[in-house]
């Protein structure tokens, strides 16, 4: 394929992948939900889990988005500095979203601010949202993420004084989960960013929920805090849909950076049980591999 064909191929590939991600949960999330289902007993938990799995089966069989809220499409890129189509990538991803919106179909979720009009295309100012991380090499790795309004609503970030310590982070996480988290379609994936400022902490918290479930922060203390928060939040017993039960979360992930000595920036992002995250690796010659949904070809 020549360059022009490759650019076109990339657009079509990302359109198909985006549509696919809206209809199928990634392997790790599916496995975790199956595990959590066995840990709930009876009553409304069973009613809800039965509906969840019936729904996933229907979405697969009828080839439809498993949740109607297909979000504002977000792409998190780890783009090789030598990837040959970097310059075209932004426009290419916009074109992919426009195509997926019709083909999937996706819900129209781009409302232009101030004009307050839905564009009807899922394209708008700075939407789809694209986050760039330039890395060495000539490949491209993309996380596609679509979060509904429900699990976006609990998002919060603030800057603590150092004396609040990591204890202040714990309090913040629990306050968010017991208030807005209840309505955000638990069991949740909770991402915590620990950094200096609101925007750095918030971005890290989003990257945290894009990590595969079960992965741990490489810093032992952070990994320990992930586990403590997981166990503690599960002890709250929100259950599926906040109707009470034995579990609250699919997991807690922390992403961190060094911080200014005078501040602790903390951000929280929550992912709902229908955590539609897909990861694809694309090489310069357009060969590619889907990392989040093994064995799938588009």
């Amino acid at each position: 394929m020549n360059d022009e064909q490759n650019v076109l191929f990339l657009k079509d590939l990302m359109a198909r992948f985006t549509a696919y991600v809206g209809k199928h949960l990634p392997d790790d999330v599916l496995a975790k939900l199956k595990e959590l289902r066995t840990q709930e007993q009876g009553g409304l938990s069973t009613v809800v889990y039965d509906s969840m799995f019936e729904n996933l089966g229907l979405a697969d069989r009828l080839d439809r988005p498993c949740c109607q809220d297909t979000g504002v499409i977000q792409f998190f890129l780890r783009a090789g500095a030598a990837f040959p189509y970097l310059g075209e990538l932004r426009e290419n991803l916009r074109a992919a979203v426009a195509a997926a919106t019709i083909a999937a179909p996706l819900r129209h979720n781009a409302v232009e601010t101030f004009l307050e009009k839905n564009t009807g295309t899922n394209l708008g100012l700075r939407v789809p949202w694209i986050d760039w991380d330039i890395v060495a090499g000539d490949g491209l790795e993309i996380d596609v993420y679509m979060a509904g309004g429900g699990c976006t609503l609990p998002g919060a970030a603030k800057v603590l004084m150092p004396n609040a310590g990591y204890e202040g982070v714990v309090q913040f996480v629990f306050d968010v989960v017991t208030s807005y988290g209840v309505n955000a379609c638990p069991p949740l994936l909770v991402g915590v960013g620990i950094s200096t400022a609101v925007e750095t902490a918030a971005l890290l918290s989003k990257r945290a929920i894009l990590r595969p479930l079960g992965s741990r922060n490489p810093e032992p203390r952070a990994a320990e805090m992930e586990l403590l928060l997981e166990q503690g939040l599960n002890d709250l017993g929100l259950g599926p849909q906040g109707l009470s039960g034995n579990r609250t979360v699919m997991g807690v992930h922390i992403e961190n950076s060094a911080r200014h000595p005078s501040t602790i920036g903390v951000g929280i992002s929550t992912g709902c049980w229908a955590h539609r995250r897909g990861t694809i690796r694309i090489n310069a010659d357009m060969t590619h591999e889907i990392l989040s949904h093994r064995g799938v070809t588009l």
Partner: protein, 201 residues
């Protein structure tokens, strides 16, 4: 036992329901969410659908054109709490009997449900294809100028559910009761974890 509510719903159909009961719906259900509530309550516009005895669903679906009409693809509930500030007068003005959504609602809705004999119920969030298969037909659409999610989609539904009653006509609020339990557990858990994360020394 699972009860089936059929529109038009009468007061006596709801009087014996209690928070935590599971019911299903047959009949007419209209999607109505943020801007639909705002237009009626804050902007004083007439709702172009008669909701007396009917059900509303807090939802913004995915629909596609289908011949001269529309086809429901995916329709799950959205966060009901966003409508809390307007639901009490909304119930009073419209005569809606069943408000369906996701997550709990607050004291204003509880008061509205008690005054006007209505209930709030949750459909399991994220189960949007299941819900779509329980919509027999989209009868019409109003306020399409608001875009696909916010328009009023008038649906005919069959055995729509499971619907878990979260607020009943007696003032019981399932989510508020649950939240009180979660918050009662919280303090001790936060204290326990805090002891183990004193990394700043």
């Amino acid at each position: 036992m699972n009860k089936v509510l059929t529109t038009p719903i009468k007061n006596e159909d709801l009087e014996d329901l209690r928070a935590g009961d599971v019911v299903y719906l047959d009949g007419t259900m209209v999607t109505c969410r943020d801007v639909g509530h705002r237009r009626l309550i804050e902007l004083g516009r007439e709702l172009p659908v008669d909701l007396r005895g009917m059900a509303i669903l807090h939802a913004g679906p995915i629909v596609v054109p289908d011949g001269a009409g529309w086809k429901m693809i995916s329709i799950g509930p959205t966060t009901s709490m966003r409508m809390e500030s307007m639901e009490r007068p909304f119930i009073g003005r419209t005569g809606v009997k069943l408000v369906i959504g996701k997550g709990g609602m607050g004291p204003e809705t509880v008061a509205g449900c008690r005054e006007h004999k209505a209930v709030h119920a949750v459909f399991p969030g994220g189960c949007a294809v299941l819900a779509a298969t329980e919509v027999e037909a989209i009868e019409r659409v109003e306020w399409l100028d608001l875009g696909m999610p916010e328009a009023l989609w008038v649906c005919r539904v069959k055995h729509f559910g499971p619907l878990i009653i979260s607020i009943d006509t007696q003032g019981n609020n399932l989510f508020e009761t649950n939240k009180a339990t979660f918050n009662a557990r919280k303090t001790a858990i936060v204290e326990r974890i805090s002891q183990q994360v004193r990394f700043i020394k």
